[in-house]
């Protein structure tokens, strides 16, 4: 330290009491030039940012408002529901309708206590009550039937110690449930081989139907269902809750405004890598021939001796299942059909095999499906594996830009784009940076979220929790169906959309099993 050396008295303020000297002022306000520099930098940065935003808004002129959720119609008359099937999906649907199992509520409370980040319980309790009553439940496994009745009585969404309401009646068969006069509408969440049969019987009795995907198990019943639903004029909703995903709505808007240019290729996929994802579900310890009505489970399927594996893991056998096509391709297809309105493909080719889960299943665990849409001049490519979860996005590729759709929507300009050529050359558009990014719940939507925001958003940590409530799309999908019943109109995933979904999936299965390219005869409305 050279304190002794060259000491200058900077430290003692001017003590001449009368006035503050010039020297004082300069020393006191020494930072003014720095503030000047700061202000200059700040204004300049904001100007550049604003100019950029303005120009970009002209490039991608999508509305920046979040997608509005239609309010519930309140007519004071509860809709009386019946539930058929209370397995994994049935339980989720009941929760989404506002009737959780008490044990599930206890689990959510416990999870939150253990991990504050888990806000499922809070979000769930914020879910709107839909003004419905559950009057009947039916499941061929008595344990599930009782659980369904308990959930149906959980009108206050409480845990096991809570106060339950009146329990719905447990029906032995679905036909008895459908015949009940105190049921207006049914939710069908059974194995695939029962979907259309039950939906047809429900429609014949004038009951509105929310049916899990896929719409049907065979081709002929698909036509029959469309016919009955239209004749009876019931409100039919197919269970593709992706219809309620905000980013899909935004994607549709982008397509309509030609942001992508000519779309020519669509890539969608399924990537799973765990037994549960591959349909190797748990076998319930209380399941046995006396607690399961095996004959009723079999129904329209080929006869087979009692098998717990087949009962709980039915998706693994063509006898009850529609494989990857019905279970997972349909979600991807419906998402794209919602965005692009592609309809039924002109032709479908498919290949795959049972390459990993050699557990006696008959449906492939790795599958590719190529759908051609000559009318739209594009190919839809579906690629699935149940034994690797390397994430591959849902991508729509156009000449001018491409977009990846998840809960978010991100659009990148193509370096070789014609539409954006000048803007890329002038540097306004950087093909490596998104020209548009939508994050659910965020007020504005543009490509300029900071890196921090992007990261938080991609982990679902930001807007979906804060501004926008985090809402279950299945809940919204059921709500839309109920609103349509009250208003007497058809919902987003109506019977026409369901028909397109069903036929596309059947074409894929047919192409795979017959090992040939199958075609759609649009005039005859037939698969050839």
């Amino acid at each position: 330290m050279k304190k002794d050396n060259k000491n200058k008295d900077h430290t003692t303020p001017n003590t001449s009491a009368q006035n503050i000297g010039r020297r004082d002022i300069i020393k006191g306000l020494a930072a003014i030039p720095v503030l000047g520099a700061f202000s200059y930098a700040w204004i300049r940065k904001n100007r550049i940012d604003e100019k950029f935003r303005k120009q970009m808004r002209e490039v991608v002129h999508l509305t920046s408002q979040p997608v509005e959720i239609a309010p519930s119609i309140k007519d004071g008359k509860p809709i009386r529901l019946g539930i058929i099937g209370f397995g994994i999906r049935g339980k989720q649907l009941m929760r989404a309708a506002g009737f959780p199992e008490p044990s599930w509520i206890d689990e959510q409370i416990q999870d939150h206590a253990e991990n504050k980040r888990n806000t499922n319980y809070e979000s769930y309790m914020e879910q709107e009550q839909l003004d419905i009553e559950v009057n009947g439940v039916c499941d061929v496994f008595t344990v599930y039937s009782e659980e369904a009745a308990l959930a149906g009585s959980n009108v206050n969404r409480e845990g096991a110690k809570g106060k339950m309401g009146k329990a719905p009646k447990q029906y032995r068969t679905y036909l008895e449930l459908l015949d009940a006069p105190d049921i207006d509408a049914v939710i069908i969440a059974t194995p695939d081989h029962w979907h259309a049969t039950m939906a047809i019987e429900a429609a014949r009795r004038g009951k509105h139907v929310y049916c899990e995907k896929p719409v049907s198990w065979t081709v002929p019943e698909t036509y029959e269902l469309v016919k009955v639903v239209k004749e009876k004029g019931i409100v039919f909703q197919l269970g593709h809750q992706g219809r309620q995903t905000e980013s899909y709505t935004k994607a549709k808007e982008a397509i309509e405004k030609n942001v992508l240019g000519k779309v020519n290729l669509i890539e969608v996929c399924t990537n799973r890598n765990d037994p549960n994802g591959a349909w190797v579900y748990d076998i319930h310890p209380e399941a046995n021939p006396s607690t399961i009505d095996w004959d009723q489970f079999i129904g329209p399927a080929p006869a087979h001796e009692f098998s717990l594996e087949r009962f709980f893991r039915w998706r693994c056998w063509w006898d009850y299942s529609t494989g990857l096509n019905g279970d997972l391709l349909t979600h991807e297809y419906d998402a794209i059909n919602q965005v692009l309105g592609i309809g039924i493909p002109g032709s479908v080719a498919s290949s795959g095999g049972i390459y990993f889960f050699k557990d006696g299943r008959t449906v492939p665990d790795v599958l590719q499906v190529v759908m051609e849409f000559p009318k739209h001049e594009l190919t839809f490519l579906y690629s699935a594996t149940l034994a690797s979860d390397r994430s591959r996005g849902k991508v729509i590729m156009g000449h001018d830009a491409n977009m990846e759709i998840s809960d978010r929507l991100v659009i990148y300009a193509d370096p070789q784009s014609t539409q954006y050529k000048e803007k890329i050359e002038s540097g306004l558009i950087d093909p490596l940076a998104p020209i548009y990014a939508f994050t659910p719940g965020k007020k504005g939507a543009d490509g300029f979220a900071t890196a921090t925001e992007q990261y938080f958003a991609s982990r679902g940590l930001l807007y979906t929790y804060r501004n926008g409530r985090r809402v279950d799309t299945t809940h919204l999908h059921i709500k839309e169906w109920l609103n349509c019943i009250r208003a007497g109109v058809q919902p987003s995933c109506n019977i026409d959309q369901a028909f397109q979904e069903g036929i596309s999936a059947h074409m894929s299965t047919k192409a795979l099993l017959e090992n040939r390219r199958v075609f759609w005869d649009a005039d005859k409305q037939e698969i050839v």
Binding site: D24, A30, L462, R466
Partner: protein, 164 residues
Amino acid sequence: MSNSVIINKYTNPQTFFLVALRILLGWYFLYEGLVKIANPDWSSFGYLMDSQGIFAGMFQSMASNTDVVTVIDWLNKWGLTFIGIGLMFGFLTQLALFFGMLLLVMYYLSHPPLASVSYVLPQEGSYLWVNKTLIEIFAMAVLLVFPTSHIFGIDRFIFKSNKK
């Protein structure tokens, strides 16, 4: 300002670098504050939820209450801004340093750079126990014990009478 009485003689370079450090820290805080004020979508929510280490539970429970988040947002936006102005202009500097350090300690405790944790928010370097926040805290501590605002700063006027 009792410290300033004890250490009241700096060399020119000492004064220059101490004042420069103070102004640079001020710039840093001021910009961090203003940029948050300017962005209507900014919230501390994501950062709080991304907390790790032994205090994570406390920060996350703060984030779970919307009203608390609103208060924290406000304190961060305006706190950072006023601390920035304070440091830059040498205005109530000791107070600004104290609250600045308090904020930084909070950031450090919510995002400790431990070997065992990782964050959603990527860091632009790799840190073990010591990160930029901690160094900033200590830089501010240095300024706290080597005050300069009575030489170059508005505090010169405010605390004038005390210095007789």
